[in-house]
Subunit: 418 residues, 2 copies
Amino acid sequence: MDEREEFRRVAVAAREAAARLAPLPRAAKDAALHAIADALLANVPQIVKANEADVAAARENGISEYMIDRLSLDEGRIAAIAAAVRQVAALPDPVGEVVRGTVLPNGLELRQIRVPMGVVGIIYEGRPNVTVDAAALCLKSGNVAMLRGSSSAYNSNTALVGIMQAALAGTDVPADAVQLVPGTSRESVKHLMRARGLVDVLIPRGGASLINSVVEESTVPVIETGVGNCAVYVDADADLDMAVDILLNAKTQRPSVCNAAETLLVHEGIADAFLPRALQALAEAGVTVHGDERVRSHSADVVAATEDDWYAEYLSLDIAARVVGSLEEAAAHIRKYGSGHTEAIVTTSQQAARRFVATVDSAAIMVNASTRFTDGEEFGFGAEIGISTQKLHARGPMGLPELTSTKYVVTGEGQLRG
Amino acid sequence: MDEREEFRRVAVAAREAAARLAPLPRAAKDAALHAIADALLANVPQIVKANEADVAAARENGISEYMIDRLSLDEGRIAAIAAAVRQVAALPDPVGEVVRGTVLPNGLELRQIRVPMGVVGIIYEGRPNVTVDAAALCLKSGNVAMLRGSSSAYNSNTALVGIMQAALAGTDVPADAVQLVPGTSRESVKHLMRARGLVDVLIPRGGASLINSVVEESTVPVIETGVGNCAVYVDADADLDMAVDILLNAKTQRPSVCNAAETLLVHEGIADAFLPRALQALAEAGVTVHGDERVRSHSADVVAATEDDWYAEYLSLDIAARVVGSLEEAAAHIRKYGSGHTEAIVTTSQQAARRFVATVDSAAIMVNASTRFTDGEEFGFGAEIGISTQKLHARGPMGLPELTSTKYVVTGEGQLRG
């Protein structure tokens, strides 16, 4: 069987499993999640062995130690993955929630209720723990997971999915409810992207180029996630200590993630007071500043920013910095160069906070708080499948409800339309 | 300027207008809607003249009288269009609604609020009243409308959009908030479908082939609407009078619309009692029945159904009919052949109603009611931009809230992530 036929077989099995999974009550899904957690713990040697093959191949291919660390699994990490599955089991089930309900003038009872999406395709890179996390979140929300991880983790992912399917075989959840896209070729991703009618939604998790190629080629609806060129704007009226603390936290607390700050915008009215302190603190934290002329006038260490710097998602100890004439100029900069993820304003002015919130069109706006808070766990969702930077369906951190659709149930006693 | 450059100029103007329109309060938007209604009434002769050119061209091209009627505008119809705009003004503004709000353990105040999508592209056929309806719904929800109607209505649409833009010029809403995609070529639609970054969402309204081509080619997120192969399932335990009434209403009350019934599924336990009455009633209403062998055994007038009939959205006085062995067989038929729009069950059994609602995966499920009720007006939404048959973002009738996205506003006093 060639890869395309093999994909189709798996996708049809997923579609059929989705119809059986959707009506299952919470207890059945939670029992299946605990069975998965048990099975992961019971099969540590098998997972580690498969993972060693991936790690050995990665070393042969000269992959960086940082990437190898992300790829590696050991008993401790597998225990953490199993514990995360049990945490998902403990979350409320979004399916069946009545979102809206009313009685119409003709006596019809109208309810809009949450239902699973169906089959959710997830394309991701790197870490094999995502394989289990994503499967658990999909299963809890009544969805079948069609997983397409990095080819470098294919042995690990095959072992993990096999163990999950075997665990499900002893539960009310169909074993086909967790599926790995067969193969490691670039073609195998394309099969997933063209599987309209079999796959209900695709969530690509990764860099801008992965996400752009999925948006360009997919006929399955896509939720874009994760690209973050986040800005911190320091207003004319700002507490300078707070501004320095928020800037440092947003930039340096974890520079490699999408909610880290990549751009600093400073109102000209406060630039002379704020920039010397900010630049010194950034320098002490090892951050390279790419600034415009007015930022550079405060420190010889500031590198000249190019047009590319304003667009950059560095994911490193770098930041682009610019002095702006007004809040509106900051908003215009964000509109032009930003990725619509998270922007923060630091201000003591209630009016400025209101204007920033009303004018800046991003998934999350922070008023006097670090950009790093845009996160499903931090927002209290208990789990997160990704952070949407698009406006359709879900925007910002996506928890379990964002993995559902709705349907209308209308109950009558023979009503006809006149 | 060629058509592509002209499109880009219009789309960039739309994008800029969206940023100015989004923060406007309800009063400004309502005033603009009334200005549009006034302007339509003040310019009846200009609209009628432009429409006459479209109608004359349509007659020359041998268009059917039915289509010419849909295309035609006169003083009465223009007055009705203006009245509909005032009705939209009277609806509540969805923008700013707090969807979710809480205080996090660290004291951060989290609010998820409704915001406009931005620029909404609408591709539609036939009737020029949609030009004004869609513009009004977009404007009320804070969105810029990028309209692409039928080329056969281009003169009418150009006149209507020109009048709306002139009316907006005297209000707080930017005149560029209503835009017509320039040109009538097939290429002009493609510009709209490829305008990712300038257009936030595309809503195609029309037949299956239009919608499929948009889904295939668009890089802008799409909301599929309007294809309805709706089924009425008559359960083993059903009130026969009610079943006949619902079937007739669903099929014949307005056969040309998406929520009309196209398929009848009858439980074998009730077929001998129900089918003779149903077939007679359908025959008297002028409906041609395309049936399987068991349906045909009850009447010589029933035409033999082919595989295509089960998939058909007739939009005419035709219906496909089949006897099924169980509720589950009915659900499997709907899963295979249906379009996920609306399905009805007629039953006196509470258990059967529950199973049908849980098993059938469509945008709306009617229990003892006509499929014709799936409609924004009937559901009490006050207006409708279309009926979504996809699961992402909106499902079923879409009112003003479905034309919005959300953003998170997080307010603190210097919180940092630890």
